[in-house]
Symmetry: C2
Subunit: 407 residues, 2 copies
Amino acid sequence: MAIQFARRMDTLKASDIREILKVTQRPEMISFAGGLPAPEFFPVEEMKHVATRTLSEGGRQALQYSTTEGHPPLRRWIAERMNTRMGAAVTPERILITSGSQQGLDLIGKILLDEGDVVLCESPTYLGAVNAFQAYRPVFMEVPTDDHGMVIEELEKRLAENRRVKLIYVIPDFQNPSGRTWSLERREQFMELVRRWQIPVIEDNPYGDLRFEGEALPALKALDRDGLVVMLGTFSKIFCPGMRVAWLAAESPIFEKVVLVKQGSDLHTSTLGQMQLATYLEMYNLEDNIAQIRNAYRQRRDVMVAAMEQEFPPEVTFTRPQGGMFLWVELPAHINTRTVLQRCLERNVAFVPGGSFFPNGGKENFFRLNYSTMPEDRIREGIARIGAVLREALAESASPDLAAASQ
Amino acid sequence: MAIQFARRMDTLKASDIREILKVTQRPEMISFAGGLPAPEFFPVEEMKHVATRTLSEGGRQALQYSTTEGHPPLRRWIAERMNTRMGAAVTPERILITSGSQQGLDLIGKILLDEGDVVLCESPTYLGAVNAFQAYRPVFMEVPTDDHGMVIEELEKRLAENRRVKLIYVIPDFQNPSGRTWSLERREQFMELVRRWQIPVIEDNPYGDLRFEGEALPALKALDRDGLVVMLGTFSKIFCPGMRVAWLAAESPIFEKVVLVKQGSDLHTSTLGQMQLATYLEMYNLEDNIAQIRNAYRQRRDVMVAAMEQEFPPEVTFTRPQGGMFLWVELPAHINTRTVLQRCLERNVAFVPGGSFFPNGGKENFFRLNYSTMPEDRIREGIARIGAVLREALAESASPDLAAASQ
């Protein structure tokens, strides 16, 4: 007699990225596959002082249970920064500290989604969000995107045609995987539709602070007057991810519901982690650290884009992100990037094939490159190797005999 | 147009305990309500050395993303200790580090429960587990318990009558809330039934190491030959809860499914927290710390039981736990302990009314007392105050006029 698992387990499967990352841990591998922040900017020495001070000043509190909502000074700092930098108007009482933004995605899925409900998302979208929502068995409907963001007419069509839309999931700044940023006009049009239809929105914003050039645009949360936008922010990309401290800003009644399910999911996020972070923010200037990360990633993006312009065949197009950690490559429709990846792995260079970023599948001619982790010389070398594989693949596909032979 | 939440939100509600704990935070309050470990035994000074060493030896790793399964040295330590102390035969590869045992409960609910499935549990049972499972909309069926554990005939009857039993949830050691421990015979009979019916079991074991007297009994996990028992363990009660580091030991295929949903729920537990714990276990002897906690709790239990024997009226009965943090009080059936609590709060003493520990409700003449947090003189004083209220309540209920007046 076999164990009967819940129906949700039929569709859940291990993330492709996770499998690829296992292969890419060999030191000779040049990996553009992961989404890891560059560890050379982690404030390791500072954290020693921070840890000692946190334990000296409030050790017993730091090691004890605490409230589900989170450490009040940390919630205050987050609300203040969101208000000054993004023009939001959030109060500390509406900030929930989460165990990474991944948890924020899970919690929002949990409060909103019944089986068969519709989640609208960008096409492509972040596959970690798809994994989180999947547990609640929704139907994903992809909304086409262009260089300015979600295509509004397409969004409107789907809203009008589907009565069970419960959630719209978007990443307007330096999207994962595409690297694209929504224009101001698109943000305003989007919020107008949201207001008309009164559908809750997750604005996932892990990369917003990593802008290399151009002007910051208002967050959807700052344009929201109906309490529909839940904004997810995180310390993972501007500080370090290993502490799993992130946050969620939401209004009533969404906020109270999320707190309730967070309580049942893990009681609260590490008290020690939260207090260490609050101490760090008191002792040091996080903005200096962010500036350093931003500069390094800008240079790495420049190196990668320059190398791609030189090494990639002209049939291959790609985005030039103004910030964040990823860019997105499009090949002619008949080339499958999973096959390209196999050849690249043989040459010790890796990326993530684009197929996983389309929840309904069917698009295999894209791939995602990460530029935050590798040093500049390895970026040049890795792009050259991928370029060689791409030229081969295109040449073969242009020659009918070879194409047939490779099938 | 109101936001449409998922159906599961109809039944989820804030925990009673949480509401009571808010009231009990005033310093003049003598609280037996919470389940907090005594903070005076947290190794605050040691943790300073631990934090510095962890960051010196592996700072970049400690602040980076890590695997969903957890930090390998920590998983090895846990497996080894389970095998030597509990006679289990687990391998490190089957240990998953979780963000508190609360997360373990949520993850197991997630992989097993569809709406309408049956969860069997002790009556009374831990309300945090009910909160976690509730999100997946099961039906709870309470199995009567006596001083030796779950009543086997009653369990068998429910297994035979219900086709949709997907999970049995139990706390065989120093149960929360009752303080009771299952006999060896009961454990063996239970595992025989489990083997026959092939139903997955959660053995929640947060208090097993806090045994004050008597001999340790084998864990259900150690008696399991079919890979059906998932054991939850935690550092919260033997070290400190603020770091939210716990674990789950499960066999294939349950283990792989839990890892999968953990990935979607929060990627992984804090790398820094896990590595600090591993460093602590390397630098210090956790067993010394546990011995200290055990001694203090034993004394506090002794003081509380002695005071209860002196102060409580004879109609009131209670358990005398051999370990753990709680004892369980039973009043005559017509006395409602929520009313008793109101009067106790007026005298600045608090406990948790027993009603919340019965998932199907209907039993209001019990309450739970915690003896781990308060110093001995406050335990004596608090019990005296509760005793006075109980005598009043019993006297009133014996006098028909007063009973009518109080309705």
